[in-house]
Amino acid sequence: MPMVDLASPVFWLITLIAVAVMTPVTHAELRKWLWAGVNLAFIATMLRLRVLEVAGFLLAAHLALRVLGCGTWRRPVALAGLACALVLFVINKLPVESEAWGVGAVNPALAAVGFSYVFLRLIDVGRVVYEGGRPPPDPASTVNYLVPFHMLAAGPIQSYEDFIDQPAVPKPVTAVEALEAVERIALGLFKKFVVAYIIGKLFLTGFNVSGPYMLFEVQVHYLWFYLDFSGYSDIAVGIGKLMGVRTPENFDKPYLARNMIDFWDRWHISLSLWVRRNLFIPMQLAMARRTRGKRALLIATVAFTVSFLLCGLWHGISWPYFAWGAMHALGLVVTNTYRHHLTKRLGTKGVKAYKEKLIYRLLGQFITFQWVAFSLLVIAYPWKGFEP
C-alpha cells in the first residue's frame, strides 16, 4: 500500500493543483468543498485507497459528531465512538497481532492515512463538540479536519478550535508571503533529504556499535531525528501557507531547552498541546475537584505520569515506547518538583535570578539534551526480542 511520499512527483503535483484551484476562490462554501475534494483526490491517487470506503468512515465520524453536538444520546455515542477509534488505533499499531485476530485487512489503509494522527484529531474534535466548545463540523469540514493531505505524513496535529476558528476565506497571499512559504518548503526538503540523509549515511549505524562511538551516535541520532521530523513540519507549514490553510508550528529549537517542561514547549508542540488539552488538564481538573484544590504537586505528578505513559503508547504499543514515555514523565515530574521547591526556597525573584545565571542555563541545556537523546536511544536501539 503506497504511503505519503514527499519525494514523489504525485505529491507535489497535487500540492500545485490544490494551490492553483483554491487560491482564486473567494466563496467560502465552494472553497471548503474544493479543499475536501483535494484531500479525497489525494487519498485516491497518492494512497490508492478506495475513496468510497474512506468516505464511509468519514461519514460515520461526521454523523457521530453531529449526535455528540445535539444532546440526545451524547454519552453512549461518545463511548461507542471512543471504543471504535481505540479498536482501529490498536489494529493500526499492532499489524502482526491484527492479522492473527483476523482484522488485518483494514491495516494497510490505516497505515496509509497515518491513522495515529487521525485518531488524535478524532479525540480532539470529539471532546470539543461533546463539551459544547464548538459546533460539530459539516461534511466538508469533517474531511478537511480529519485527513488534510499535507498533515497526514507526520502532523502537525491541529486543534479543532484552531481549525474551526480560521477565516473561511483567507487573505490573499502576497508575493513575499509566497516566497517565504516556498522557502519554508525548500528548507524542510533540504533538512530531510540532504542534511538528515547525509548525517544518517555518514554517522548512524542503527546502534550496532559499542564504546565511545555509541555515545557519539546517541548525540548525532537526536540531531538526525530532529532534522528529519522538523523537515516534515516545515514542508507542511509551507504548503499550508501557500494554500491559505492554517497549519500549526511544531518545533522551536528544542535542542536549546533547559528542562523537560521547556523541551515539550519546543518539541512536537502540537502533540504537547494535544496532551495538555485532552489528557493532562482534564485529569488535573478531575483530581483537583476531588481533593478540593489540595495536593497540587501530587496531582501534577500523577497527571504528568499518566499523560506521558499514554503518549509513549501512542507512539508504539511496545515496551521501548512505554519506557520512552516513562523517561519523559520522570523528566517532567522532576522538573516540576524541582521548580516547586526552588520557588518555595528562593521566592519568585530568587528563581528569576537563578534562571539568569549562565552556568545553570548551560547545565540545564546539557542535561535536557542528554535525557532526550538517551530516551530516543531506548526506542531506536535494536533490542533482541523486540520490534520497537
Partner: protein
C-alpha cells in the same frame, strides 16, 4: 509609521539582489533535495 516600515521592508525584500539571492537559495536547496532523494544511495559508499 509602522505601516510605512512594513511597506518598506516588503519592498526591500522584493527588490534587486535580495530577491535574486533568496530565489537562488531556494533553487539550490530544492535541486540538492531532489538530486539526493533520487540518487542518494548510489552517491554514498555502501560499505561504511
Amino acid at each position: 509609521m509602522n505601516e510605512s516600515i512594513a511597506e518598506k521592508a516588503s519592498g526591500d525584500d522584493l527588490s534587486g539582489w535580495r530577491w535574486t539571492y533568496r530565489l537562488l537559495r531556494v533553487t539550490v536547496m530544492l535541486v540538492a533535495a531532489y538530486w539526493l532523494s533520487r540518487t542518494g544511495d548510489a552517491f554514498f559508499y555502501q560499505g561504511f
